[in-house]
């Protein structure tokens, strides 16, 4: 019953993590959302491993490896974010703004786009 509860929680956390990284414009919060998604996957794995007694050690080892790889990727992503901050002065990914600034090949389209926004 414990394993089932945490598996369901892992599913919901995965969706929540996806939406954290999709909806927050700050890049650091996107990294956080990806981390939440990773944690959700690990929790799903561990819940699956817990269906047997004793628990499955191969799955535990996979989760351990996953945790270390996740922090490696996060650390590198944060370094890139710091570099972006230094280069651009901000670390927001505003999709609406990017839509407005998009390069268009047809001047007519650009003109319409500028008028709409």
């Amino acid at each position: 019953m414990t394993a089932g509860l945490f598996f369901a929680l892992a599913v919901v956390l995965f969706l929540l993590g996806f939406f954290i990284q999709a909806l927050r414009p700050a890049l650091m919060l996107k990294v956080l959302g990806l981390n939440v998604m990773s944690v959700a996957v690990f929790m799903a794995f561990l819940a699956l491993a817990n269906r047997h007694t004793p628990a499955d050690p191969v799955v535990h080892a996979m989760v351990l490896t996953g945790i270390v790889v996740a922090i490696s990727a996060t650390a590198f992503a944060l370094a890139l974010i710091r570099a972006l901050q230094h280069r651009n002065g901000h670390t927001q990914l505003d999709l609406a703004q990017l839509d407005r600034e998009r390069v268009c090949s047809d001047a007519h389209d650009c003109h319409d786009a500028k008028e709409r926004h």
């Binding site: 945490f6 599913v11 628990a55 996060t74 974010i81 710091r82």
Partner: protein, 323 residues
């Protein structure tokens, strides 16, 4: 105990929902640390003490420290940004900063993903398959040289994965150091006696615990990664209290320490291959000694790499350190 599980699950859910709504980077980092600790507790309830140790030390502790350092640096760099050629940062942290078509696509993605994933849940309660790998792992445990199954999987059956994992850590550090920017965070030691005295007490204790965890891994939950994480945390704490020590490492020492784990592991694997066995196949009489030796080198590398990932954005000037 089910009540405890339900309460824990609700707290984890609440923390994640809060992360969805918070826009302050500092608050989000603190929330993520809380999230990580709660998740570690949940994994304890799932009978996964190795993963819980690793998540508490690495996922909550070190990731939290990295997030806080980055949040502080982003804020301080934002404050000195007065140049007119830099892009003006966009408005605020609205929850939905996407245009209408993108929002529609996101909603579609939500429905599709939710449907697919929620359908998995009743599948979970179906009859599980035979745990073949688990039986294999426990069956060959005596030949692996250690008596803890997870350590055997990590360093004997799937030693190749662990070797590559050390490589990934090294790659991340190389990448992070390649993007070092001039505007690094200047770390000023917190005034007052609390941090100083706490660190003088905590760091030796953490070193002992770290070394103990390394030795413990052969017969109980523990091992190189948890040990390396605790030692890295000890180094981070030490640097927080005495930031001038960050620059005390010479480049050559640093480079040899961070590559030691990968190199020793690789040489051991190639050594047994040249002596007649296959790559990474430890002969049974030497297995325990080889595994402990490799774990010692790996712990040093992991600790140094994780601590340097944190220290990479710390800059100290003698003018600011008033000790």
């Amino acid at each position: 105990m089910l009540v405890l599980d339900i309460v824990l699950a609700l707290m984890i859910l609440a923390t994640a929902v809060l992360l969805l709504r918070i826009s302050s980077l500092f608050q989000a980092s603190i929330l993520f640390i809380v999230f990580g600790v709660l998740v570690a507790l949940a994994w304890l309830r799932l009978d996964a003490p190795d993963a819980a140790l690793a998540e508490a030390a690495i996922g909550a502790g070190l990731t939290g420290a990295l997030l806080l350092a980055t949040a502080a640096q982003i804020k301080s760099n934002d404050a000195d940004n007065t140049g007119s050629n830099k892009t003006k940062p966009p408005a605020s942290a609205r929850l939905l900063s996407v245009s209408a078509p993108t929002a529609g696509l996101l909603l579609l993605a939500l429905t599709a993903m939710a449907a697919a994933l929620l359908w998995l849940i009743p599948d979970f309660f179906a009859q599980p398959h035979e745990p073949i790998l688990r039986d294999l792992a426990y069956g060959q445990l005596e030949q692996s040289g250690v008596s803890h199954a997870v350590t055997a999987v990590l360093l004997s059956y799937r030693a190749w994965d662990t070797l590559l994992e050390l490589g990934v850590l090294l790659l991340a550090l190389i990448g992070a150091r390649a993007t070092l920017t001039p505007g690094r965070l200047s770390l000023q030691p917190v005034q007052g006696p609390v941090l100083d005295q706490a660190v003088r007490f905590l760091v030796p204790v953490m070193i002992v615990i770290g070394v103990y965890l390394l030795w413990l891994g052969s017969h109980a939950p523990g091992g190189a990664f948890q040990s390396g994480a605790v030692l890295a945390a000890a180094m981070v704490l030490y640097w927080l209290a005495f930031p001038q020590q960050v620059q005390g490492l010479s480049d050559r020492v640093m480079h040899s320490l961070i590559s030691m784990g990968l190199v020793v592991f690789l040489l051991a694997g190639l050594g047994v291959a040249m002596l007649g066995w296959t790559f990474l196949q430890w002969p049974q009489s030497w297995a325990y000694g080889l595994i402990v030796f490799i774990e010692m080198a790996a712990t040093v590398s992991i600790a140094m790499t994780l601590a340097l990932l944190f220290a990479g954005n710390i800059q100290t000037t003698t003018a600011q350190v008033s000790r």
